[in-house]
C-alpha cells in the first residue's frame, strides 16, 4: 500500500480550475521529486498534502496518507502518522522567531528537561553542527539560511510521520549550502531510513542528484511520472524535454569553459 496516495485531486478557485486531477503516489522509503515551473500546481499539491489549502479554494478527489483520508483536514486534526514533516524554502518563517531553536526542537520530546536537551544536542550534532550547544541557544534570526534549513530538517525528522515533504528547500540557498542540504536529505530518507521523501523543486539537476522517481507537473496536470534515469534518458513530454535541454545548456558552458585550451 502506498504511503501517500493522491487520486484525482482537483482544486478550483471561484473563477478557474487550478489542479485538473492530479494522481501521485509515494511508496514507503521512496524519494519522489516533483518538478514544475511556477504556476504548474506544485505548491497547491503540497498544500493539499499538508492540509494547508486556503479555505477559499474548493478541493475534490482524495489524498490518503498512511491509510487515512486527509483531504481538507488541517494537520492539527489528523492522526500523528498523517502529519508529514516539512522543510520549506522560507526557513526563517518555518520557526518561531522569538524562541531559541533548542527549545523548539525539544517540543515533540517528552521526558525530563535534561533528557530532552541531550536528545536535541545529539540530533543537532548528527546534522553536522560542530557546536550544538551554541546553536540550541540561538534564535532563528541569528543563524545563516543554511543552518536554519538544517534546524528545520532536524525538527521535521522528529515528527512521527514516515513522510517528509520538502518544498523548494534549497532555492534560497547558495550552491555550496544547497549541496550540503541535499546530501543530508539523501542520508535521512529513502531505503533503510523508514522515511519517504516528497521533494518539490524547479531544478531538475537537484532531483537527479537526490530522487528515485520524477513527477513533472504542467498546467495543473501530471505529465510524467517515472524513475529518474528513465526520464533523463527518454523524456516523454515536451515540457520535460525543455527542462532537460535548459539544464544541459547551462552546464555546457561549464564544461566548455573548463575544457577550453
Amino acid at each position: 500500500m502506498p504511503l501517500l496516495d493522491v487520486r484525482g485531486l482537483r482544486v478550483d478557485s471561484a473563477s478557474r480550475g487550478l489542479l485538473q486531477g492530479v494522481d501521485l503516489t509515494v511508496e514507503p522509503e521512496r524519494r519522489v521529486g516533483v518538478l514544475g515551473a511556477s504556476g504548474s500546481g506544485k505548491s497547491l499539491t503540497v498544500a493539499a498534502v499538508l492540509g494547508l489549502l486556503p479555505p477559499a479554494l474548493r478541493a475534490t478527489g482524495s489524498v490518503r496518507l498512511a491509510g487515512a483520508e486527509v483531504l481538507g483536514v488541517p494537520a492539527a486534526r489528523r492522526p500523528p502518522g498523517a502529519r508529514p514533516g516539512v522543510v520549506r524554502q522560507d526557513s526563517a518563517g518555518a520557526l518561531h522567531p522569538l524562541l531559541p531553536v533548542g527549545r523548539q526542537l525539544a517540543l515533540p520530546l517528552g521526558g525530563s528537561r535534561a533528557f530532552a536537551r541531550a536528545r536535541v544536542l545529539e540530533t543537532l550534532e548528527s546534522l553536522g553542527f560542530r557546536d550544538p550547544g551554541r546553536i540550541a541557544g540561538a534564535l532563528p534570526s541569528e543563524l545563516s539560511g543554511g543552518m536554519r534549513q538544517r534546524v528545520c530538517l532536524a525538527l521535521a525528522l522528529m515528527t512521527p510521520s514516515s513522510l517528509l515533504v520538502a518544498d523548494e528547500p534549497t532555492t534560497a540557498l547558495d550552491v555550496v549550502t544547497q549541496a550540503g542540504v541535499v546530501s543530508l536529505l539523501r542520508d535521512r530518507t529513502g531505503p533503510g531510513t523508514g522515511r519517504a521523501l516528497l521533494f518539490v523543486t524547479h531544478d531538475i539537476a537537484v532531483v537527479a542528484a537526490l530522487c528515485d522517481e520524477l513527477v513533472v507537473l504542467s498546467d495543473g496536470r501530471v505529465v510524467e511520472h517515472a524513475p529518474v534515469e528513465d526520464v533523463l534518458a527518454s523524456p516523454g513530454h515536451e515540457r520535460t524535454r525543455e527542462l532537460i535541454t535548459a539544464a544541459r545548456t547551462v552546464e555546457a558552458h561549464l564544461y566548455a569553459t573548463a575544457e577550453a585550451p
Binding site: 550552491v175 544547497q178 539544464a247 544541459r248 547551462v250 552546464e251 577550453a260
Partner: protein
C-alpha cells in the same frame, strides 16, 4: 588599461581585498552567501565608504557623494541588480524608466536626443516596440530583465556591475538570459563585473574569476583554470557543488 580597481579594501567582513577590471574584460566574483559579495558591490558602487583601502576608476579615486559629484563615475559604471524586475518603478513606462539615467546623468546634448538613445538601448536588448509604453507589471520576467539591462546600458557605460542577475530565474529562462547578456557584452565591448554564487553563470560569461571566502579574495585566476584545478578549499567546494545531470 585598468577601468575599476580596489586596493586593500576593508569594510565589515571584507579584509584587504584587491581586484581590478580592465577595459573589455569580464570578471566574475564568486563565493558562498556570507562571503562578503554584497558588501564588495556596495563599496565598488560608491554607496558606502570603506573602513580602509581605496576604490579608483580610471585612476581617479571614488568616494560616496551626491549624484552631481559622482556623475562622471555613474556614467562610466552602471549596475544590474539582483531580481531586476523589482527595481522597475511600477508607475512609470518602459521609456520613462530607461530615460531616467539620461535625464539625471546625461549631457544636454544627450538630453536632446533622448528618445533616440532610449530606443537604441531597447533595440539592443530586443525589446519589441509594442512594449515600450507598457509599465513594469505588464512585462514578463525576461522582458523586465531586458528593460533593466537597457537602463544600465543607455549611457553606454564602460563597465557593468551585475549582482546575481539570473539566480531568481527558472532554468530555461536562465539559459536564455545568459545568452542575451553575453551577446550584448560582445557587441558593445562593455566590461563586466559579475557577482554570483553560481559558477555556471560565471563560466558562461567571465574570462577571469575571483573567489571570495570569509571576506578575503582567496583565488584570482582565469575562469577555466578555476574550473579545472581549483586551489583553495572554498574554490573546490564551489566547483564541486554545482548540481549537474548525470
Amino acid at each position: 588599461m585598468t577601468l575599476l580597481r580596489c586596493e586593500g579594501l576593508s569594510l565589515r567582513l571584507l579584509r584587504d581585498v584587491d581586484l581590478a577590471v580592465s577595459d573589455g574584460e569580464r570578471l566574475g566574483v564568486v563565493g558562498e552567501s556570507g562571503a562578503g559579495k554584497t558588501t564588495l558591490l556596495r563599496a565598488l558602487l560608491a554607496l558606502e565608504q570603506p573602513d580602509a583601502g581605496t576604490v579608483t576608476c580610471r585612476g581617479r579615486q571614488v568616494r560616496p557623494g551626491s549624484p552631481r559629484r559622482l556623475g562622471w563615475f555613474r556614467r562610466l559604471v552602471q549596475y544590474v541588480p539582483q531580481d531586476p524586475a523589482s527595481t522597475l518603478d511600477p508607475r512609470r513606462s518602459v521609456r520613462e524608466l530607461v530615460a531616467l539615467p539620461v535625464q539625471r546623468l546625461g549631457t544636454p546634448d544627450e538630453g536632446r536626443r533622448m528618445r533616440g538613445l532610449v530606443d537604441e538601448a531597447l533595440d539592443a536588448v530586443d525589446l519589441p516596440g509594442s512594449l515600450r509604453d507598457a509599465r513594469a507589471p505588464q512585462l514578463s520576467g525576461g522582458q523586465a530583465q531586458r528593460v533593466a539591462l537597457a537602463r544600465a546600458l543607455v549611457l553606454r557605460p564602460a563597465l557593468l556591475l551585475a549582482d546575481e542577475p539570473v539566480s531568481g530565474l527558472d532554468l530555461p529562462l536562465r539559459a536564455q538570459v545568459l545568452a542575451s547578456l553575453r551577446a550584448a557584452f560582445e557587441r558593445q565591448g562593455t566590461s563586466l563585473l559579475l557577482v554570483s554564487h553560481d559558477l555556471a553563470a560565471v563560466a558562461a560569461l567571465c574570462h577571469r574569476t575571483v573567489v571570495l571566502a570569509d571576506g578575503r579574495a582567496v583565488e584570482d585566476v582565469p575562469t577555466r583554470q578555476l574550473l579545472r584545478a581549483p586551489q583553495h578549499p572554498s574554490s573546490r567546494a564551489l566547483v564541486t557543488a554545482v548540481p549537474t545531470l548525470p
